[in-house]
């Protein structure tokens, strides 16, 4: 027994040593070539299919490896032709799209009209369970490929017809004058045949037609991209490649940046906001992004929707000291909101500072008067609900409630109702189970005023969680969509917004900024209106 046990112990030690030696060898060769940007990343939530990517981390990659018919200018946000030679429409409902010649995917396959039509049909078909399928709901035939229940009765959208190699036509269900401007969204990207013939292989290493190619992709940890030298577009990459590294903790990414282990972070941790200017100087970017935060009233609840309550809703808006909260809690990484869109749209795109007027200006006395005039808070009390597992939601909600309580001179007029997880919160919101105000954030899909208004406040729109409904608002949106002159369309959208200022179904709180920091190795770093770094413009010293 003794001898035996000693042998066992000896063997165990051996295994341990051998294990250490073997594992020690597996590391090593992990160097990064010259001219490569090392940037922080988060694990994409979904497989990297264009029509299945609805969050910013997957979107970063799609931005690099795909080019669509339109491209949003990183500075102005204007939709400019990329692969589209021309998009014509006689009636704002039927569109003829001509694709530029000379474009290929990085595997050599030509980009044709069919590359687009096949991709869009794939995206819309219910069997493929693409999360962005609803982007195609305006195309005729959507209800047959994507029925509300049961199986699809058609495989392809009847509104899409390939005319020849470089031309296809699109027929929409209703008039939608700014529809071509939505085509810069990643869901509208063209797809090569390999996507359909070898789907699993394509997902392992996606192939597109953008300025970068994917060299290797280790899911959940990193992706290496290199410049595609045969890229036919104007916006060729100015660096030799990008290495995206997944971080679960933005503090670690920031530490890595300070240690020179990483070149670019696009998410500055809130705990570092006080130091970031000292640490990075002018290598810290803080600029508006196409994100607005609001609190929405449950208009489906009769106590919030009866006549006179619009005064209470406006009063609550006036009781919130936005400037103080954005300064003290967010260190100016949020800007007080005074309309329902975003500054990234620019004046031409429909943003209008101060459109909300007095109703979004802090005025505690007037707030108190209005709330009393409207019959007071329902039950003398209001709650703000949000998930508190991510972000700093708890902090700002407390601050908003304090602001309201101070204005009303009551301690318990407003309280916070925290929800443990995001999923639970989403389920409660979409189940229409809210009895007080609740948080709602909106990140634009494309830089159009329409995108900030129609999905959120149009009767029964997809993300109209408060179930706000106003026939006059709906009519103005319809008119704006049918308007072929952009300037007039924008003015009509703003008229619609004035109805929101009167009715206040949702209180605009602040516009969220995008933030980024980089090392002295890089130059030419900028963020686009979606708060994603414009990787192809970055230069490495």
């Amino acid at each position: 027994m003794r001898r035996g046990t000693r042998a066992v112990a000896g063997a165990a030690l051996w295994v341990l040593v051998a294990g250490l030696a073997a594992t020690g060898c597996s590391g090593g060769a992990d160097g990064t070539g010259a001219g490569v940007v090392r940037a922080s990343w988060g694990d994409p939530q979904n497989p990297l299919e264009p029509a299945n990517t609805n969050e910013v981390q997957g979107g970063k990659v799609l931005d690099m490896i795909f080019r669509g018919l339109k491209q949003y200018d990183p500075r102005t946000g204007a939709a400019e032709d990329m692969l589209a030679e021309k998009i014509d429409s006689p009636d704002q409902q039927n569109f003829t799209i001509t694709v530029k010649g000379g474009w290929t995917f990085s595997n050599g396959e030509k980009v044709t009209a069919r590359s687009f039509v096949d991709a869009w049909n794939y995206a819309a078909l219910i069997d493929n369970k693409q999360k962005n399928a609803s982007f195609f709901q305006d195309v005729e035939g959507y209800d047959r490929v994507h029925p509300a229940g049961g199986t699809a009765s058609a495989k392809t959208l009847s509104g899409l017809v390939v005319k020849d190699d470089r031309t296809f036509t699109v027929r929409l269900r209703t008039k939608f004058s700014t529809w071509p401007d939505t085509l810069g969204y990643a869901a509208y990207a063209p797809l090569p045949r390999a996507f359909f013939t070898d789907h699993a292989g394509w997902l392992k290493r996606p192939v597109g037609n953008g300025p970068y190619m994917i060299d290797s992709y280790t899911r959940g940890s990193q992706m290496k991209l290199s410049r595609w030298d045969g890229y036919p577009g104007e916006d060729k990459a100015k660096n030799s490649g990008v290495e995206l590294r997944v971080y679960t903790d933005n503090n670690t990414a920031y530490t890595d940046l300070q240690a020179g282990n990483l070149d670019l972070v696009d998410d500055i941790p809130s705990t570092q906001l006080k130091n970031v200017k000292n640490d990075l100087g002018d290598r810290y970017i803080n600029q508006p992004a196409g994100i607005i935060q609001t609190v929405v009233f449950p208009m489906y609840d009769p106590t919030w929707n009866k006549p006179g309550m619009e005064k209470v809703r406006r009063g609550i808006s006036m009781a919130i000291n936005r400037a103080q909260i954005t300064d003290q809690i967010y260190q100016k990484t949020r800007t007080p909101a005074s309309d329902w869109t975003s500054p990234v749209l620019g004046d031409k795109g429909g943003y209008k500072e101060g459109l909300c007027g007095d109703a979004c200006t802090y005025n505690p006395d007037e707030a108190k008067r209005l709330i009393q005039e409207g019959g007071g808070l329902p039950g003398g009390h209001v709650t703000i609900t949000s998930n508190v597992d991510t972000g700093s939601h708890r902090v700002w909600m407390d601050a908003v409630c304090n602001s309201i309580n101070n204005a009303l001179g009551q301690d318990r007029a407003c309280t916070v109702n925290p929800v443990g997880t995001f999923a639970d919160f989403r389920n409660q919101v979409s189940g229409l189970r809210m009895t007080g105000m609740f948080r709602s954030g909106w990140q634009m899909d494309y830089p159009l005023a329409q995108n900030f208004l129609q999905p959120l406040y149009y009767t029964d729109a997809s993300s109209n969680y408060g179930k706000f409904s106003n026939p006059q608002f709906d009519k103005l949106i319809d008119d704006a969509n049918a308007e072929s002159d952009t300037g007039k369309a924008v003015a009509t959208f703003q008229d619609a917004e004035k109805i929101l200022a009167d009715q206040m179904p949702a209180v605009p709180l602040w516009y969220q900024n995008g933030s980024a920091g980089y090392t002295a190795n890089l130059s030419g770093v900028e963020l686009n209106p979606f708060s994603v770094p414009v990787y192809e413009r970055i230069q490495v010293k």
Partner: protein, 307 residues
């Protein structure tokens, strides 16, 4: 001994079923994860329904559990939301965490037992007091504090090591995180060894050994230390399981893509197959580690026999 092992292995089956059952129900009790997949947008009802159907979420809970267990028995742990198989995630994550745990355990054993032995042999002297004091401080500092502080000092201030670990996670990069992970347990190991040594120094067999005229190093290593290691071995055995599952904080701080990272990601996204699958494996690790500790007793103490 063989029969004992078989009996222990059989006992693992009900423990395994019971624990997976509990984890499964706790994770699923968090609610429907599909709505969160669509971000701040309203989920398209038809697409959401298809996803629920695919994930088996439209079935009653007991059916989901049976379906899941059926899958597990055939080696299929399901698919994460990003389309990756959970077995693939495990294949990537477990070796990394295993290496990290190994570093921590080796560190604990080597430093902890040495310190414990030194202070135990010099009870009441200044070495002993200072070791006790230092371990007290170490025990009371939480991992996320020691982690961030050491990361800043070694990674940013002195630039000795890289503050984060690369995806391949080679052993040399795991040294600092391993030390951070093992720090608290190190203090326990030191204190356990010390107490045990102090206690056994007065044992009869030790006096006999000294009286026999054995050289001192032989008395200390063969007679004193070996017999004092039983409580330490128990602690380290259970610690293997605890370190593997409890590395979430350390793995986050040093950006290590191991088990803790996958669990964190899984919980955040309410991705039940990931969470249940990983915890199931951790349960097995825990059970096996405990069995090994029990068997090790017989090696350490010749008086213990299993039948």
């Amino acid at each position: 001994m063989g029969r004992y092992v078989i009996r222990r292995l059989l006992q693992m089956i009900p423990v395994f079923i019971g624990s997976t059952f509990l984890i499964f129900f706790m994770v699923y009790a968090l609610g429907d994860p599909v709505a969160a997949l669509f971000g701040d947008k309203a989920p398209d009802p038809a697409t959401a329904a298809r996803i629920r159907q695919e994930l088996y979420l439209d079935q009653p809970l007991w059916k989901q559990y049976l379906h899941y267990m059926g899958q597990i028995l055939t080696g299929n742990f399901g698919t994460a939301f990003n389309g990756q198989k959970v077995t693939e995630l495990m294949y990537d994550a477990f070796p990394v965490t295993l290496r990290l745990t190994l570093v921590a355990i080796v560190f604990e054993i080597v430093i902890g037992i040495t310190l414990g032995l030194l202070s135990g042999l010099r009870r009441g002297r200044s070495v002993d007091t200072s070791v006790l004091l230092v371990t007290l401080v170490v025990v009371s500092v939480p991992t996320f504090v020691s982690g961030y502080v050491l990361q800043y000092l070694f990674g940013v201030k002195w630039q000795v090591v890289s503050p984060s670990v690369s995806p391949a996670a080679p052993l040399d990069e795991l040294l600092l995180p391993g030390v951070v992970l093992g720090l608290v347990s190190l203090a326990y190991v030191t204190r356990l060894t010390r107490t045990s040594i102090v206690e056994n120094s007065r044992a009869d067999y030790l006096r006999t050994a000294v009286a026999k005229g054995l050289p001192r190093h032989r008395v200390v290593t063969r007679h004193l230390l070996r017999n004092s290691l039983i409580p330490v071995a128990t602690f380290i055995g259970t610690d293997v399981g605890a370190l593997m599952g409890g590395a979430i904080v350390t793995e986050r701080i040093f950006n290590i893509h191991g088990v803790g990272y996958e669990l964190y990601q899984g919980i955040l996204r309410q991705n039940s197959p990931t969470v249940v699958g990983f915890v199931t494996i951790l349960v097995i690790v825990f059970l096996v580690a405990n069995l090994l500790v029990d068997l090790l007793y017989a090696v350490l103490d010749p008086r213990i026999r299993y039948a």
